[in-house]
Symmetry: C2
Subunit: 348 residues, 2 copies
């Protein structure tokens, strides 16, 4: 683009003052149009909008942030150990933010760190995000929610139990999902069924355990203590826990794990032991991350629509206060996806 008459080559960015001048109104009126205030005459609004469109004006987010005392950022604060979960959730949030002027900023954390809440406090009070999205397990930290409330920072908690009011929750019915896994294994004829659950610091671990027990009970089965082991929602812990079960005196014929990462770990343990999935041991996971369909044999798992959950959470954050007050609880019920990793037990 050529420039003349000594004007600098950088086409100076147009500001609210330019728009006001061109539209022959005050900058406050332009501000009202930008912020969709109803207190603008229709005619005036159109005139201003025309100028804005013509010159491609876009208000400066940093300036608005300073004046609003609130930035145009949405935070995702997470400690979830599964990369697939994290990426899917990011995608869901971004689906919703894409059409807005909000940006997604990432804030991973470690709940075990001593100053974990302090760091979030700093993050939130510095960045002043519109709100933050909390997937499990950070979502389950009531003290954190309280702190955010005090800071005046909006949040949405994604969790397997109803921890907060509807406008601040995306609920997943993990117990029901786990029950489906139990019914599936029971109806295949399994009786020696084990469960590798996630870290007890995760509410979801309890929900899934409870749901699984309930599902077994429907079939007259009980989850035995020797077949209930605690993992850490990681691949390695899946391997170790599964090995514990495989090399125990009473080897189970089926294992339900608290997430797919651990299920894949169980696959590996079974293989290392020279056994086959599902011939020797059936495995059912939880999450339906992409990996579930990529392992061999393709994994039967309980599907949680993580990306959609991310969308739901972001949508809640963007809602007007009036809508929020009227919001009903958004919840997702997982569904079992039957693939090939669970089959009837071998006849003894």
């Amino acid at each position: 683009m050529e420039t003349r008459g000594g004007t600098p080559n950088h086409r100076a960015k147009i500001t609210i003052n330019d728009v006001a001048r061109l539209a022959n109104v005050s900058k406050k009126t332009v501000s009202r149009v930008i912020n969709e205030s109803p207190l603008v005459r229709q005619e005036t609004r159109e005139k201003v909008k025309a100028i804005i469109a013509e010159h491609g004006y876009a208000p400066d987010p940093q300036a608005r942030a300073l004046a609003f005392r609130r930035s145009f950022l949405v935070g995702m604060i997470y400690d979830n150990p599964s990369p697939q979960y994290v990426v899917n959730m990011q995608r869901g949030i971004l689906d919703v933010l894409a059409d807005t002027s909000f940006q997604l900023v990432l804030h991973p954390c470690e709940r075990s760190e001593e100053n974990f809440r302090q760091k979030i406090h700093t993050f939130v009070s510095q960045q002043k995000p519109l709100g933050v999205i909390l997937p499990p397990s950070v979502s389950e930290d009531d003290a954190l929610a309280e702190m955010l409330e005090e800071l005046g920072c909006d949040y949405v908690r994604i969790a397997s139990v109803e921890l907060d009011k509807p406008s601040r929750m995306v609920r997943t019915h993990d117990a029901e999902g786990a029950a489906q896994a139990a019914r599936h294994l029971a109806s295949l004829g399994h009786e020696k069924i084990a469960h590798i659950h996630g870290l007890s610091t995760f509410r979801s671990a309890h929900e899934r355990l409870a749901g699984f027990k309930a599902g077994l009970k429907e079939h007259g089965l009980t989850l035995q203590k020797k077949w209930t082991v605690e993992g850490a929602y990681t691949f390695d812990s899946g391997v170790q826990c599964a090995e514990k079960l495989i090399y125990s005196d009473a080897r189970p014929t089926a294992i339900f794990t608290g997430n797919d990462e651990m299920a894949v770990g169980a696959y590996q343990a079974v293989r290392k032991a020279g056994l086959q999935v599902p011939e020797d041991i059936s495995i059912v996971g939880f999450d339906d991350t992409p990996m579930a369909s990529r392992v061999w044999p393709p994994m039967t798992t309980v599907r949680l629509p993580i990306r959609e959950m991310g969308r739901a959470a972001a949508s809640l954050l963007l809602m007007e206060p009036v809508e929020k007050a009227a919001a009903e609880l958004v919840s997702f019920t997982p569904e079992i996806v039957v693939r090939d990793s669970a089959a009837p037990p071998k006849k003894v």
Copy 2:
């Protein structure tokens, strides 16, 4: 915390003015201390720093952004289809940003979209990030780099070829990594070797292909055209391309794929065909994403230290201009990780 005398319950946030008053200097001097200007007397600096520490003052990023005309954000603009790659890179970037006042904001994109550069233009001119990090394949878009240059937005390109000056590049020697894969397969005794490469729109696909050919040549082998197929760096494309090879007249005994995602796809195709990895077909991947060690048999692959690459990219962005001018090219040479997915071919 109790408050008295009618002061509002929200402890008013301390500003630069408060610090200036308390330290008995002008706010400009406080500003100099914050920005580590050398033009402050040692004594003054210490006095100001003491006040800052005492009151836990932290400058407001939004206000600084407005005055600086530059925000405290670092963007990651990516179109990489592998979730593992994306998460690892994020982690690397965050490792470096953690100790700074910079935040990571995500900007996924689609190079195939007509207005893909336009969207980035809007993102950058609105958010005014300190800089953006471009992993492949967006990193390979010269027109994009030029646009960022014109916008005055710093960037770091992560790529398998030297596309830019050292301060703007993190280079990976993909060709050498692919050559190692070739040497490995050749030395196992394979001759019927196939390659599923990534999208031709990715420079890395060419580099890996070229390197692989070069490696084979060292062993007197040539990559045949019928055994060279193009995938899309996705799992599904890996399945399809591998099936094409498996059901062709001349079935290869080994397949090297352009990334791990496609390698896992190839695993699946082999399994579906009732064949075994590595007994019937050896497979070697590229990237060493976590999945590589989780599949069965554990995958031989070429390791690219993605998280470290993210760290290197972020570090470059944070460098002072003087350091940058003196920066030498940062490069990473991949190394083959031998696991169990490649073995000598069956005797015919």
